[in-house]
């Protein structure tokens, strides 16, 4: 058999081709700067670097989580990937096509392949539309049904797949619970059969029991439809359950990136460690954490010099951490674990 003869390690060229074939969506040093206007009429003198040179890759059928505190740029990154906002610099490649410059008109077929589920279903669902119409509209815009009857069938099928009864199509969002509304938002996203969904804190406004139901639903739907997720969250302990890989963001940059298990077993960046320590662990019976971070998150308008974490970092070295921005580099252990920290190797 040819397998025996072929080299066990693919050549670098093969590896990159292999990688490209499996990549669903990728950003290449993508940045988004928002102008800060000192007054109503003033011209922008400063910019907030909401996303600053982020390269991220999502493969077909996998879940990549982006984690960080508020204002770290995680939601902006999600919007950039969806082309809901245009990047200042960098490229976005979706299914092998550069969509960075694609005009709005030509984006419709792309939009069918990528969808979004927002945090708050109360504001992301039209209160004046019954649920059947909310899901049906998406099917109609993308011309996925040949008749009204087929559209209705599709709506019923998607409602069923998210655990709602087909009769729910007649209800208005306010007649449902928060968990049910989020199910509708998920059904709407899935109704156009996308390959990629950005889940922007889909469970942040839910109870712990509803949260678990929604997470399980999204995981099950991924198994049946093979859709890939970009999962945005501020809760590191939650994303461990859903993600294959995790990227930790701080002030517009990725500071650590690894497989989910790697990140939890051996976090390298002090910021990741602090985030993990900020959630009490119940089952393990560990004492409640004393959070090592004392200060507030850094201001995006006046970012700190050097590493954005250095003002709060318990191990920051003066003259090093406050001077230059650390580069995201592969750790010696390999396996795709990358970290941007000047001191992470010292234990």
């Amino acid at each position: 058999m040819s397998d025996v003869l072929s080299p066990t390690e693919p050549s670098p060229v093969d590896a990159s081709q292999h990688e490209r074939a499996h990549t669903l969506i990728a950003t290449e040093s993508v940045s988004k700067y928002f102008p800060v206007h000192p007054s109503v009429l003033g011209t922008a003198s400063r910019f907030i670097r909401a996303v600053d040179g982020v390269s991220l890759r999502v493969r077909y059928g996998e879940t990549v989580a982006v984690v960080g505190e508020s204002a770290c740029g995680k939601s902006t990154l999600g919007r950039l990937l969806l082309r809901l906002i245009d990047p200042t610099l960098g490229r976005i490649v979706f299914e092998g096509t550069d969509i960075t410059q694609t005009p709005e008109r030509a984006l419709l077929p792309v939009r069918r392949r990528m969808q979004v589920v927002f945090q708050d279903p109360t504001s992301s669902l039209n209160p004046r539309m019954p649920v059947g119409e909310i899901i049906g509209e998406a099917i109609r815009i993308h011309r996925l049904a040949r008749s009204r009857i087929e559209e209705r069938d599709r709506v019923a099928r998607w409602l069923k797949s998210v655990g709602l009864r087909p009769e729910a199509a007649a209800l208005y969002p306010h007649e449902m619970s928060g968990g049910q509304r989020q199910r509708v938002a998920i059904a709407r996203a899935l109704a156009v059969e996308p390959r990629f969904i950005v889940c922007d804190e889909p469970t942040a406004s839910q109870d712990v029991s509803t949260q678990a139901q929604i997470i399980n639903l999204l995981v099950e739907l991924q198994e049946t439809t093979g859709v890939a997720y970009l999962w945005i969250s501020h809760d590191l302990s939650l994303v461990h359950h859903v993600s294959d890989r995790v990227a930790v963001m701080l002030l517009g940059r990725i500071v650590e990136q690894a497989s989910a298990d790697d990140l939890y077993d051996s976090p390298r960046h002090p910021y990741t460690k602090a985030l993990l320590a900020s959630v009490p662990q119940i089952v393990s019976g560990l004492p409640p954490p004393t959070f090592p971070i004392t200060g507030a998150p850094p201001s995006p308008v006046v970012p700190p010099s050097g590493c954005a974490f250095h003002p709060r970092c318990p191990r920051a070295v003066r003259g090093v951490c406050d001077r230059d921005v650390p580069i995201l580099e592969e750790t010696p252990r390999g396996s795709g674990h990358r970290v941007a920290c000047w001191i992470s190797d010292e234990g």
Binding site: D207, A212, H240, H241, Q281, F291, T294, P297
Partner: protein
């Protein structure tokens, strides 16, 4: 009164002398288009002096309504407190006149609400809002009030209190605004502080800081706290006792250590199991409680949790279990409380 089963807790139990607040058989209803809804239905518990009691449960279980009842902030046409007793340091709050209650609020009793964005006045500086809380209760000069405000801002660890005092709420982050709310609630050094999901709108890192702050304040001022939350992870390590509510009822109570070590109600067990925690549950699947909280307008005669309960037996459908004393300091409203797996 009906025949009292062995170990039944409801009614007739004297307040423990060591407790600062004792709630007995509290019934609160909300008025809706379809009549009265008993959102709090016969709730009893005690808060020990200088300790923190947590009330947990899903939304719509009556947790916040219980806290609002204690503050007596539920009034017509929204709803009303139907019956029961709320004793704060031996004084029944439900018999006080509105004027006397105003003296209790802010002085002996204070509350921090869930949404710091909506609880602060957007057009008034932080300093004025806290100062108002200070001057309403005590006759002090403006200068004294300002000094006291500075002190409060320092105490809740806000940076640069001298600048902060003249700042408007929109310039603050969510965590800072919640610190301002806490400063305001602390203005008159209350004996009991009620916290209604104080950190839901905040980042995990900010949540940890707020709880750290609360813990330090409690240690220093020997304040008692009632923490209403749906984030069970925060209960662990911050509260000493816990009351689990479901559909207006207390279904389980006990010390946090005991309840988290072994649950005696399937609902509590379900809640604890659905917490995502790295390395403890199989990857990519969480345990859940199927279904949702029942509609209070359509309650049957049986246990309110029966529809969602994995341990349901025929008895559960026809008779609601009473809240039973099941061990020292533990109570459970489940017929099969000793069979809950651990």
């Amino acid at each position: 009164m009906a025949e009292t089963p062995l170990g039944k807790l409801e009614g007739g139990v004297e307040a423990r002398p060591s407790s600062i607040l004792s709630v007995r058989d509290l019934v609160t209803s909300y008025h809706t288009g379809e009549g009265k809804l008993r959102v709090v239905d016969g709730v009893s518990f005690d808060i020990r002096r200088s300790a923190t009691l947590a009330i947990i449960g899903e939304s719509g279980c009556g947790k916040s309504a219980t806290a609002l009842s204690i503050m007596r902030l539920i009034s017509s046409p929204l709803g009303q407190i139907e019956s029961g007793k709320i004793e704060l340091e031996g004084r029944d709050l439900l018999t006080l006149s509105e004027r006397d209650m105003c003296q209790v609020r802010g002085r002996a009793l204070s509350m921090v609400f869930q949404e710091p964005m909506t609880s602060l006045h957007p057009l008034v500086t932080i300093g004025w809002q806290i100062q108002e809380a200070v001057t309403i209760r005590e006759r002090v000069s403006r200068r004294q009030a300002r000094a006291r405000t500075m002190e409060l801002l320092e105490r809740v660890c806000l940076p640069e209190p001298g600048v902060m005092i003249d700042t408007y709420p929109h310039r603050l982050s969510g965590g800072q605004r919640q610190r301002v709310m806490i400063a305001m609630a602390l203005a008159c050094e209350p004996a009991l502080l009620l916290l209604d999901d104080p950190t839901t709108a905040l980042d995990v890192s900010t949540q940890a800081q707020i709880f750290e702050l609360l813990r330090n304040l409690q240690r220093r001022c020997s304040m008692s706290m009632l923490l209403v939350t749906h984030d069970l992870r925060r209960v662990f390590g911050h509260a000493s006792d816990v009351v689990v509510m479901y559909a207006g009822r207390v279904v389980e109570s006990g010390s946090v250590a005991d309840v988290f070590a072994k649950q005696m109600h399937p609902y509590t067990r379900g809640l604890i199991e659905s917490i995502p925690e790295p390395g403890t549950t199989p990857h990519r699947r969480l345990r859940t409680i199927e279904g949702s909280v029942p509609d209070l307008r359509r309650l049957g005669v049986g246990c309110r949790f029966a529809q969602r309960c994995p341990m349901r037996i025929d008895l559960c459908e026809v008779e609601e279990p009473p809240l039973m004393s099941v061990a020292t300091g533990r109570s459970s409203r489940c017929w099969r409380h000793d069979e809950v797996p651990s």
